[in-house]
């Protein structure tokens, strides 16, 4: 992007060195998929710079998790094993990560966490401790150069050949923002589960497993976990469903979701989704939210009912095989990327769809019988 006639900038002394680090996440020993995705993304970043990929795992009796981290791309895995780390808690985990980063001769170039309830709890603590930048919910990560010319902060002026590009949609706009902060170490980012792609595991991949010390302070144990309850049996998970029927502000009221549920009930393996707006309004719980700050989904069929299709929603579902959108506004952005658009009132279209789906079933049966004669 530099103009040919301009003076080339000197490489900034702040230019980040160090490796790429992934902070692994598990719930009571059950590895979270986002960790494997981060290893996939982290491997690409590390390879682009010719640096190594580190991973830190905290817990108690972690079994084969460290080995698995190597198979999925890590070069060195640092393991903190301690009874107080069995279950994720902010302060003990924060202590171990901060101590570990301080023990390195060179802080990591980049530190990645998942945008999960755990990663979003931990990452800001680490970023604030090191006064470094953190970009939440990235949809893309990359490495590239940046020339900082702003006169307002002369100390930072210079060329940064290897910056972390943390890319995320910006608020309410059909724009993607590339966010940088190469003058502080480590550059930090979180990504949503389901966004990055894990590597295929390689059982022959070589790597080191290194134990690291755990020095918790009494203050770190101010919070205790009394109970962890897993809600495995609460219907089909959004990320596993073949069909997702989603509702948005166009439903008009919270009761509109009854219609969405009725339509979803027509399908096998279906789940209910929602846009952020209606989750904010309390019409439906957060765990139904699809989009940048909700779940990223790739079902075979996605039916969007009264959803306008803002960029935040789109990044969470645009990779669905077939998208059917129902909206009464013919100019709604969702019609820019849906496969089939129905312009109409959801309160007329959905009941009609339910009716015809149930009818068609019968009609097809009759056809089949006729055809066999």
């Amino acid at each position: 992007m530099s103009e040919p006639e301009s003076e080339p900038l000197a490489v900034s002394p702040f230019c980040p060195k160090g490796e790429v680090l992934v902070v692994a996440e598990h719930i009571l020993g059950e590895l979270q998929p986002v960790t494997l995705e981060l290893l996939g993304a982290g491997r690409i970043l590390a390879d682009k710079m010719g640096r190594s990929l580190l991973c830190i795992v905290m817990g108690e009796n972690l079994g084969d998790i460290p080995q698995k981290m190597i198979e999925y791309g890590a070069d060195t895995v640092f393991v903190a094993d301690h009874p107080e780390l069995k279950c994720y808690r902010t302060l003990p985990y924060r202590r171990v990560v901060c101590d570990f980063l301080e023990s390195l001769s060179e802080p990591p170039h980049t530190t990645l966490l998942g945008s999960t309830t755990t990663g979003r709890d931990l990452a800001p603590r680490i970023a604030a401790h090191f006064d470094t930048g953190l970009t939440a919910d990235c949809t893309e990560l990359d490495i590239g150069p940046y020339e900082h010319k702003a006169k307002a902060d002369p100390a930072k002026i210079g060329l940064y050949p290897n910056c972390l590009y943390a890319i995320r949609p910006s608020f309410g706009e059909s724009l993607k923002a590339r966010i940088l902060g190469p003058w502080k170490n480590p550059q930090m980012a979180t990504t949503r589960p389901g966004v990055m792609v894990p590597n295929k595991p390689d059982a022959n991949k070589k790597g080191k497993i290194v134990k690291i010390p755990v020095n918790l302070q009494p203050d770190d144990l101010r919070l205790v976990v009394a109970e962890t309850i897993r809600e495995m049996d609460k219907g089909i998970k959004l990320t596993d469903a073949e069909v997702i029927v989603s509702g948005g502000y166009g439903l008009g009221t919270a009761d509109g979701f009854n219609l969405v549920r009725d339509l979803a009930a027509c399908f096998d393996n279906a789940a209910i989704g929602a846009s952020r707006k209606v989750v904010d309004l309390g019409w439906i719980p957060y765990h139904n939210q699809v989009g940048q700050t909700g779940k990223t989904v790739r079902p075979k069929l996605y039916i969007a009912c009264g959803i306008s299709g803002a960029i935040q929603h789109r990044v969470g579902m645009s990779k669905s095989d077939t998208i059917i959108a129902i909206n009464k506004d013919p100019d709604a952005p969702i019609f820019k990327f849906a496969h089939h658009g129905i312009v109409g009132d959801v309160y007329q279209i959905i009941p009609e769809m339910i009716k015809q789906l149930k009818e068609k079933k019968v009609a097809r049966g009759v056809e089949a019988v006729v055809g066999s004669h």
């Binding site: 800001p124 724009l175 940088l180 962890t228 495995m232």
Partner: protein, 278 residues
């Protein structure tokens, strides 16, 4: 004992539901956009008011933003908050989450002693969920993020928070910072009396100032190098338009609902996913 000192952090955000202030190119003109209380903060406000009602104490609302942000503090007063602080200073412009957390940290210390700080899980304009934990780090506090149930027993906080695929019950001591999820109880309607009282107050700037104090960086003794653009480690280096996949959408419009639906059912594989009925 006079109960708990409860702080609640609130933010004024552009109203995404309104088309006012949305430029044709999709960017936002924040000066013209309609403003509202960040929807997530309504749950934090409910948690603060419920805690006051259940265990006694006072609620202090704190906000940072340009002068119109006083509107959201007035709104919290209508709901029953006791007093508010608005940190407003031009030098705060272009603050990222780290710089915001620093400024709020100085504001919280200025506002006095506290037992619990409630924040919304995140804002609808930034969407990061970072400021709460970053503030807790500055204050050296334990934190409960994604909180959906909160109570106090024998002087200890008992809370339930969301984790991936489940919930966690935690117990901690005060002071503590809590970010409230939107699965917490929705904000109750304001009382007529509360709203009326605040409307009366709003007419008399002198009296209003006893309840809502507007402060700046000098008053709270903040290091201006750590605020605003200067104190923000991240910058937006570039923006790009998201490519539109226009033209590939097959539109169905202009007919009766039954015809539109029939067209789509015929054109897609929708029937393949139906519940198999015997």
């Amino acid at each position: 004992m006079s109960g708990y000192n409860i702080f609640v952090l609130v933010k004024q955000v552009p109203d995404q539901g309104s088309k006012a202030g949305i430029n044709p190119d999709g960017t936002i003109d924040r000066a013209r956009a309609k403003r509202m209380l960040n929807p997530f903060d309504r749950y934090a406000l409910q948690a603060a008011l419920h805690t006051k009602k259940s265990y006694g104490g006072t609620v202090t609302a704190i906000s940072m933003g340009p002068p119109p942000a006083v509107e959201v503090l007035l709104e919290t007063l209508e709901h029953g908050v006791d007093r508010g602080f608005l940190l407003s200073d031009k030098r705060l412009a272009a603050s990222d989450t780290l710089a915001t957390a620093y400024a709020l940290y100085k504001t919280v210390n200025f506002a006095g002693k506290f037992d619990i700080i409630f924040c919304g899980l995140q804002t609808t304009d930034g969407d990061t969920a970072q400021v709460g934990p970053q503030l807790a780090e500055r204050l050296g506090l334990p934190q409960i993020t994604y909180c959906e149930d909160f109570g106090i027993e024998d002087g200890k906080v008992h809370a339930r928070r969301i984790i991936e695929g489940g919930v966690q019950k935690v117990i901690t001591e005060m002071p503590v910072l809590v970010t409230v999820a939107n699965s917490y109880h929705p904000l109750e309607y304001k009382s007529f009396r509360g709203a009326w009282r605040v409307q009366q107050l709003a007419r008399k700037q002198e009296e209003l100032r006893q309840f809502i104090k507007t402060i700046d960086l000098d008053v709270i003794g903040a290091d201006t190098d750590r605020c605003g653009l200067k104190g923000s480690p991240t910058i937006v280096a570039a923006t790009e338009k998201v490519g539109e996949i226009g033209g590939s959408c097959q539109m169905h419009e202009g007919h009766a609902p039954d015809e539109l639906v029939a067209e789509v059912i015929k054109a897609t594989t929708i029937r393949e996913f139906m519940v198999a009925k015997k």
